[in-house]
């Protein structure tokens, strides 16, 4: 049984190699391949009423569904109270290992406060697995490359029919032509998704600050107590008002960091596939695996460190000043 599976896999891989070689090297007679269509805003596939459904929204919902099903399947034995769940195997084992690793990483940052804050580990772990799988799903073949062919007014490409499949290739036409509207596109290449995650993360940082410190959390932003130091207090007060700006800067840097990395990654993969189609893209796929993981990790760890900073008493800060 196993042997047949191996043979079928090898055959499929050979077929794909042959097809890409044929399409890439021989089918485009004299016509050089054009660079793929690159667009920052997500392509709108269809409308439900007046609500535009873009390709990134489809993928976001797909990743959500995947994670919900995986979470359900990996905790099924635990919820049914099965004795066998005490010795985890398979998917449950993998989920527990991932959760434990992330729990330890958050524990390093937040320390004993991790258990005192309700839901903080849920927030951090959700951010991590959502971004991780939203990034990695981009590497599945078919993303960014299979889609609807549509006519455009400017900078289109020429089109050739190949059986039931339409292929887009160069040379670039200045006026008119065709372009590809991919059906699937990685969620984080749409600025809205990282922006939403960043807003959620920063709002939750404020929430945990207020939860842990109460009203005194807002001293961070309006440090009226500084006036008791005398005239120089006004500068301390103004510096504390600047903290409000830094909260908005966090949203900006969170969202652009994730968006820039993943969007640049998808362009890099597309460009590499056109520059040198046969072996080189594999190396960049590996790089993108790494970048996708690092970005998910960084987003989670930064959220954890911002929460840790928000929990620190403003008083500690003042004492530090007095000592210095």
């Amino acid at each position: 049984m196993k042997k047949i599976g191996t043979i079928v896999t090898v055959l499929i891989v050979l077929l794909l190699c042959g097809a890409s070689f044929y399409v890439g090297a021989f089918n485009a007679e004299g016509a050089k391949f054009a660079l793929p269509h690159i667009q920052m805003a997500p392509e709108v596939l269809f409308y439900i009423g007046s609500f535009p459904v873009s390709n990134t929204l489809l993928v976001t919902l797909g990743v959500d569904a995947l994670l919900i099903v995986a979470a359900w399947a990996s905790t099924r034995k635990i919820r049914s109270g099965d004795e066998a769940a005490l010795v985890p195997t398979g998917l449950q084992n993998f989920a527990e290992w991932m959760y434990e690793t992330m729990y330890d990483a958050s524990l390093n940052v937040l320390g004993d406060k991790l258990e005192k804050l309700p839901g903080v580990i849920t927030l951090l772990f959700t951010i991590f697995i959502f971004i991780l799988f939203a990034n990695w799903i981009e590497l599945v073949p078919g993303f960014d490359t299979i889609g609807l062919v549509e006519e455009v007014e400017h900078h289109g490409y020429t089109l050739s029919e190949w059986g039931p499949i339409a292929l887009i290739h160069g040379p670039v036409l200045e006026e008119g032509g065709y372009t590809l509207k991919p059906i699937l596109r990685a969620a984080n290449t749409d600025l809205n998704v990282p922006l939403m995650l960043a807003i959620v993360a920063v709002v939750m940082v404020q929430y945990y600050g207020v939860y842990y410190l109460g009203k005194s959390y807002f001293l961070r932003f309006f440090n009226y107590k500084a006036f008791s130091h005398g005239a120089t207090g006004i500068f301390e007060f103004l510096a504390s008002v600047l903290e409000i700006v830094s909260e908005f800067a966090k949203i900006l840097s969170f969202s652009f960091r994730l968006f820039g990395n993943i969007f640049a990654g998808s362009i890099l993969l597309a460009v590499m596939a056109f520059l040198f189609p046969f072996m080189a893209p594999a190396a960049f796929y590996f790089l993108e695996l790494f970048v996708g993981f690092i970005q998910a990790m960084v987003f989670m760890m930064l959220t954890a460190s911002f929460i840790a900073v928000a929990l620190s008493e403003h008083g500690d800060h003042e004492e530090g000043h007095a000592a210095a």
Partner: protein, 76 residues
């Protein structure tokens, strides 16, 4: 120079000049991190995590330059 040429030049300059600072910064972080691991190999895990966080901060500046370059190329 036509506006198109200026746009391409501006995008190239934005990315090229914007990558100098983060490049130096990430190099310094790597230098510090590897030296720290060399002196205290037991703390390697914690140092690595903090090193990656610091690299992410330095890299963000290059990402801003990248976003500007992309906007110049594809949006403006």
């Amino acid at each position: 120079m036509t506006p198109d040429v200026m746009r391409l030049l501006a995008a190239g300059l934005a990315m090229g000049l914007g990558a100098i600072g983060p490049g130096v910064g990430i190099g310094l972080v790597g230098l510090g991190g590897t030296q720290a691991i060399g002196r205290n190999p037991e703390a390697g895990g914690v140092i690595l995590t903090n090193m990656i966080l610091a690299i992410a901060f330095a890299e963000a500046v290059a990402i801003y330059a990248l976003v500007i370059a992309l906007i110049l190329l594809f949006v403006v």
